[in-house]
Symmetry: C2
Subunit: 234 residues, 2 copies
DNA sequence: CGGACGCTTGATAAAGTTCAAAGAGAGTGG
DNA sequence: CCACTCTCTTTGAACTTTATCAAGCGTCCG
């Protein structure tokens, strides 16, 4: 029996101590008076690709997808963000990707200009940003390998393991997937149908259960990790 | 007739004014006495994944592939580096990826510790590094879309356009591809055979010529770009 | 000249996509 | 509260793209 993935329910008030935490939140706390709290409905655009990158965002609650839209309807979701995740760092003048609400979302938007002023002469902050960007690169590279070389089953298993590791939405062995199948498909470079079949395949082998479409119960975490493959891919 | 891609032959001595240039080279010039020039044969490992990230590298000449090796022989090449490109920035203690020589390569290795000392209190340098990392993220995201949603032909066309834009190895409309088909395949998430067939398909439509396996002549750059698709993918 | 290696092309197979249809769930209005 | 509708999910069947297997070719180098 694996228990390493057991996690308590995350209280709203704890959301800033959550996943993918770098030391940036303490810096943001210093300009919290400039932060504006915004709410978005499901599928609402938080910031569009091409738009002037005027703000930096932190996700307070909910799930955000960050995606690239090709001209002809083809789409790729680069990442899902959850409570505590930061987005919009980096020095691009315009956003390269679009951020949309997967579920009802609350974000805090900090004017970039204030953040940059905070960074001037603040070496520790710049180091933290570099660290954040480095981690983003490492994540992207792991995903490149997934898209380049893993089978549909392996991608699905890897995705579930990643969600287990980083999501605040784990209750025991139950994993909440707030995003629809289409989003998972566009994240893993598959179609909706293949995502369904990959889940069905894992279900048939008693690795997971799928009580409903937004919930997955992990029955055999070891098997799931084994299917996902090399640890460096997670 | 398109001429925008015409470029002079790059002289060895000009290689530091080449592709993907950020403002980092001037900073490196200040610690050039600490730089060690190293030569590598084809397929020699310059730095392996997992190895302590003790140095930062700049490519003086030749072509380097940066790759991720899955346990079972599956491989993905995240990027190809050419003269002037810098590699090893970011704050990871170990390299996440392996760098190998595609062709005979000359690199300059700077001890990371010296570089970091240079960065202490040097805000401009840190800003440059952030900029470099941001660009690396943007590149990775474009490649995620390629792997996720483009067909073999589209990937090949995109690859050729990218190489045209960034390579120093363009002589008129002739493009030198120093890497073997296997490397291209592992970069594009395809097999060797599919790379061959994609090239053959472009050749049959008179978009390119392939005088020999390391040389491609671009006959119709406009068509190539059209096949590659949305500009944001390049 | 011979052998090794990399490239190309062909035939077959497999994985995943597309098309189609049916079922499940959530929200809405009567 | 129920019926209705809309959206999302699931499964099946046919098809397409790409991978795999196999053979032949060219070229580079000893």
């Amino acid at each position: 029996m694996h228990t390493a993935y057991l996690r308590p329910v995350a209280d709203e008030e704890f959301s800033h101590s959550e996943t993918r935490q770098d030391g940036l939140s303490e810096h943001l706390a210093r300009i919290k008076d400039h932060g504006v709290r915004l709410r978005f409905h499901r599928n609402q655009v938080i910031a569009a690709a091409g738009e002037a990158a005027a703000h930096i965002y932190t996700v307070a609650s909910g799930c955000v997808r960050v995606s690239h839209h090709g001209g002809d309807g083809r789409r790729h979701i680069a990442d899902f963000l959850f409570g505590g995740d930061i987005w919009g760092l980096g020095d691009a003048q315009q956003f390269a990707l679009t951020a949309e609400a997967v579920s009802p979302v609350t974000v805090t938007a900090y004017p970039r200009i204030v953040f940059e002023r905070l960074g001037e002469g603040n070496n520790r902050l710049k180091t933290e940003i570099m660290s954040h960007l480095s981690e983003a690169i490492a994540r992207a590279h792991r995903h490149l390998f997934l898209l380049s070389r893993l089978t549909a089953r392996e991608r699905m298993a890897t995705f579930l393991v990643r969600m287990m590791q980083q999501s605040q939405l784990v209750y025991g062995a139950r994993l909440d997937l707030p995003m629809p199948r289409r989003d998972i498909a566009d994240h893993l470079g598959l179609t909706i149908e293949t995502v369904c079949r990959a889940l069905a395949s894992l279900r048939e082998e008693a690795v997971i259960e799928v009580p409903n479409s937004h919930l997955v119960t992990i029955l055999d975490y070891g098997a799931l990790r084994a299917i996902a493959g090399h640890p460096s891919q997670l």
